[in-house]
């Protein structure tokens, strides 16, 4: 009986470790960013000057950088991820084509982000430079647009796999009813499957947004690392994750450190809320069906 109890305690304890880690991350970040919160207050979020030497810390350029790259990436990836989920969820549920595409998606998801960044820097950046020369703008090559392209490739697998799952959950009798009324496949997908799976697809997009917001290495390598507010899509910029990656190890003063930690705190809270909401939506959808 004692062994039994110990065993159950060990199980419970390991579950608690996860809880403690998550709470500790939040508490530590909050505590360590207090000096910065006291110093800058809310102005932190809307001032655009980042000058650690003069103790001026405005995170607005990074907020803009993060939001622009993430949403642009989401926008670019949308037709691809939706197509893949319809391809796998409606047209080819199994068989050779389905397996081939699934393998491609798995491999895309498996490539480390540092390799995406490296490849982007040496292959994509020169292409973008040519493109910018043709457009007659300064050919930085690196910048928000390049980051968004790399990010969109990286998030396609996430939203595609989640949307595929929810499109698979659409009850067959609903679709069969539409077919029996003479609907074409396009009409079934457009009027039955997609509306039915709407909230799940939204959750998939939300979760991939969470990925994009927090993605660090690939973005750090191709965004150009400039700390001022970007004026065009092609400008070099910085995101919240990339500013931490670039400056955390070099931050010299306490306040400087604390500010970077505060940026980390914002990232943590936003991504935590996004994954919480995304999972809730999917769970609700599963419950409504099952």
């Amino acid at each position: 009986m004692i062994r039994e109890k110990i065993f159950r305690l060990v199980l419970k304890f390991s579950g608690l470790i996860i809880t403690v880690i998550l709470m500790a991350v939040f508490a530590t970040l909050l505590y360590k960013s207090l000096p910065s919160i006291r110093h800058s207050g809310l102005a932190f979020l809307y001032t655009g000057i980042w000058d650690p030497v003069a103790d001026e810390y405005g995170a607005l350029p990074f907020l803009i950088g993060t939001l622009v790259t993430s949403f642009l990436a989401l926008f670019i990836s949308l037709p691809f991820s939706l197509s893949i989920s319809i391809f796998l969820g409606e047209y080819y549920k199994n068989g050779f084509f389905s397996n081939a595409l699934k393998t491609i998606i798995e491999l895309l998801a498996g490539i480390p982000s540092v390799i995406y960044g490296f490849w982007g820097l040496f292959v994509l950046v020169p292409i973008i430079q040519q493109f910018q020369l043709k457009l007659g703008i300064i050919p930085y090559g690196v910048g928000m647009f390049t980051s968004a392209i790399i990010l969109s490739i990286m998030i396609i697998p996430y939203s595609a796999s989640i949307s595929k799952e929810v499109i698979n959950m659409v009850p067959a009798d609903l679709k069969e009813a539409a077919y029996s009324l003479g609907a074409t496949r396009y009409e079934v997908i457009r009027k039955i499957s997609l509306p039915y799976a709407k909230s799940g697809i939204f959750a998939g997009i939300l979760l991939s947004l969470g990925r994009a917001l927090g993605e660090t290495m690939a973005v750090t390598m191709v965004i150009g690392n400039r700390n001022s507010i970007p004026k065009s899509l092609f400008d070099p910029a910085n995101t919240m994750a990339s500013i931490i990656a670039n400056e955390f190890a070099e931050a010299s003063t306490n306040l400087y450190h604390s500010t970077l930690i505060q940026i980390g705190l914002v990232l943590f809270v936003v991504t935590a809320l996004i994954s919480f909401a995304g999972k809730k939506i999917i769970k609700k959808m599963k419950r409504d069906i099952g």
Binding site: L16, L22, P79, I84, I111, P112, G214, M217, I274, F276
Partner: protein, 282 residues
Amino acid sequence: MEDKGIRFRIIKDRMFFLFIVFFSLLCAAPLFLIFYYLVKNGLSSISLDFLLNLPKPVGEEGGGLANAIAGTLLLIVLASVISIPVGVTAGIYLSENKKSRTASYVRMFAEILQGVPSIVIGIFVYLWVVVPLGGFSAVSGAIALAVMMLPVIVRSTEETLNLLPYSLKEASMALGVPYYRTIIKVILPTGFSGILTGVLLSIARISGETAPLLFTAFGNPFWSLDITRPISCLPLEIYQYAMSPFPEWHKMAWGASFVLIVIVLLLNIFSKLGAKKWKVQY
């Protein structure tokens, strides 16, 4: 349905199908481009010298990444040692307490932890391990990686065990086997292949992680397997070499990327093979 000609509707259907196929297949393009460049530029930098030597300073020919390869393996082993026991037991806990309220919170926290950006995990480990130990170290890098692995292992273990039939446990209990022995001797071995797959996939995921290592493992140009000292690893080397202005170093980065992608691919293949090989029929 709206009143439109059937021919128009069929054409629309066909166009839609072509659109879907086109966009789906276009996703293969970046993958092939990445592999093409990795093989083209990476394979030529790989040699015995590359795999067995230490990096040389700029300007000198040759040199290799033996320290980074060893460092990557050491970090993976350390992270696995830390996170596999905790992750698997937590997974058992979740699957054994499906209805408990505490368990549902733990499940939710694990899901949130999985979504936390890796750079934030890096800050957390920096504050809790690097600062108290007084410097960058391999062990702090391993802890950061372990935190990243944990939710993946928990989730895959739970999902695997949830698929096992309840009769299996009942049969064992009916024979008078105590609960904890049932779990250890019946449930775990039956779910072994699934748990192994999850563990290997989580290793594949962290083996290329860079962001949390920037200010934990930090990197080291010398040979070191001391876990209290900074250590080099492939992702960090790729980052440093790629951002440097020297063409020789870029070549090293291609080589390192090639080695890293081979490691990641092998882990993926092993996880698939392992899932088949140790699958228990019941």
